[in-house]
Symmetry: C2
């Protein structure tokens, strides 16, 4: 590779997955400064060749020793893999941007949306968590609204989440079952789904991740709980009243959210409009009919906001809106790469970074 | 027909449409007491034979004279047809249960959900309005909750509405375009939809009916406005704070709603559970994983409620839930037939009904 050896060695954990592929494409597209890319995956896909910056790179098997000499890890191989390997990478001196839910609520782990709370990166101890997709896209919006109307009083969210949030297999299954279901009469729909708890083609499933059994979140799904507690952590509003209903919809890529925001004091629609127009990473629709849809925003970077209006149930101090983003981008890969960029820009990742770590660092190797 | 001639003559206006076919099937299935069925439709489909109670009945062209001798009309041929013909039917002595939005908010027209506010039927002046599908399914739920916690303080609804709400052509179009779209790469999706403002296959459209241009509903769609103002009228809560975001989803039949309800005073989840279990027409899920989905409830009568839980943003006095029903049934045909049954039971429709009418009745004909 042509990059300077003073640039970090970057490993992508889960390199052959849906988000891993996006991560590698974004590292190339955004010309991330690295001296070497190290794609890591399970034994099953290790040995595959991937293309990066005009060169062929072999996927290596993810194991503790694979992190020797790695400065930065972008981890997106699922919770069990992160649980097993992130500490191993940190122990070897790497900084890890983790895309799973393993470490997000750990008090010593910054949970960061790029452009929203980058300052939290400075306190990292080797691991930075990337929030859940449905949380991430809401953050630039709520961050922009926080200064208005004496602050946020309450947020009510209903999500419309695409199947890509459940991985490549889920997209394949929706495709396959949709072909079978499209001409079915009621009662003849295909069953036997592998990736979903119920039939997904031409249906809705209000059930993402497991159910929470204990108060105060009893009856919520873990996906909904994530949106609630991650939002509070990222915005540093530990008491924010917020609720969510998370629903899987038969869309391939792109998450949508119906969001109602109450402020503590009256706020004008003009103020809200101006705040969203000024917000980084947010594209506010111009007119009534110019609303975003997930299919039409697939593959793009911003968070799109449309249908902004005074809330008829709280006209003085409330607004409702429709928020759409590519869940694989700001909700996953794009945010991870932007966090990596911010770490470099803040001097928090350099080759053989010497920052403090959560765990006893192993002796640095060349 | 074998029914007594002392039973009413019933016309179905829009007999060949999606809801009209359901209306006729329900009249037969529920053994509605009628002396004659008169299916009416546009010139295009007049002359078709339909099956009813073992006999073949010819569809007649809908025109003012077709209502001569008709006692009861179930109208479901769209707003323009109702605007043109409902008065003509009433002028000829018929009582009309109208499924369009034409007369719903008229102060002299009762807007009724069977089992929720049947008493409003008594004040009718020839026309009874059947509410919008997304309103209708919510009413048995809110009616059951109204007595709790000092009354409803606020309701926030996000809908997930199937394409059948836009008619038979919309189902056909979703089928056809889904076949084209299922293997498409991003950017290659089929366009040129006839029934929808944007691509519908594997997509979401937060835009049902036209946009409202004036305060206090500026920025709402008319579908959302309907849900708001119809709910207030049916529940006789003219000031109820309620908001809605209405979204079309790629589901064939069945509307779903994510609903957050605030009460004026603290209310326990047990109270809410008991009220919903006791409510007519409502089926409350037993356990966490027993939630309803639209595909699985197609063709059935009840309103299904699942995911009932304390609202994390208002744990003392709020609940959230997931409400699913077949929009062609309680949201349209079933409610119309049940209203017709209630009219008969209350003596409000009898052959050559003599009740007061909105308009000068024409001379009764044999």
């Amino acid at each position: 590779m042509s990059q300077s050896a003073t640039q970090p060695v970057v490993a992508v954990l889960g390199a052959t997955g849906l988000v891993g592929q996006k991560l590698i494409a974004l590292l190339e597209k955004r010309r991330f400064p690295l001296s070497r890319l190290k794609p890591l995956a399970s034994q099953r896909t290790a040995g595959q060749q991937i293309q990066f910056a005009g060169q062929s790179v072999e996927v290596e098997e993810a194991c503790p020793e694979a992190f020797e000499g790695v400065d930065l890890v972008l981890a997106s191989a699922g919770g069990a893999i992160s649980q097993a390997l992130v500490h191993q990478a940190v122990a070897r001196g790497a900084v890890v941007v983790d895309n799973t839910s393993c470490f997000r609520m750990h008090p010593d782990v910054p949970l960061v949306v790029a452009g929203v709370n980058n300052e939290a990166l400075d306190a990292h101890n080797g691991v930075i968590a990337n929030p859940n997709c449905s949380t991430a896209q809401l953050m630039p919006v709520l961050k922009a609204l926080m200064p208005l109307g004496g602050g946020l009083q309450r947020v009510v969210v209903s999500t419309y989440q695409s199947v890509s949030g459940a991985g490549k297999e889920a997209i394949d299954e929706l495709r396959q079952k949709s072909k079978l279901a499209v001409d079915c009469a009621p009662g003849e729909y295909p069953t036997g789904y592998a990736c979903f708890a119920r039939p997904m083609a031409f249906n809705l499933i209000p059930h993402i991740d497991v159910f929470m059994e204990e108060a105060p979140y009893q009856g919520y799904t873990k996906e909904e709980w994530k949106l609630i507690v991650e939002t509070r952590k990222i915005l540093d509003l530990p008491q924010l009243p917020i609720t969510a209903t998370a629903v899987r919809v038969p869309v391939m890529v792109g998450h949508s959210e119906s969001v109602t925001v109450d402020f503590n004091q009256p706020v004008s629609l003009d103020e809200v409009t101006a705040a969203l127009r000024a917000a980084d990473d947010v594209v506010l629709s111009d007119g009534l009919t110019d609303y975003p849809t997930p299919l039409e925003t697939e593959g793009t970077d911003p968070v799109y906001v449309g249908r902004l209006r005074r809330d008829a149930s709280n006209p003085e101090a409330g607004v409702s809106m429709w928020v759409v983003a590519d869940n694989l981008m700001i909700g996953a890969a794009l945010n991870a790469v932007r966090l990596a960029e911010a770490l470099v820009a803040r001097g928090l990742v350099t080759p053989r970074s010497q920052c403090a770590h959560l765990f006893e660092p192993a002796a640095a190797t060349a």
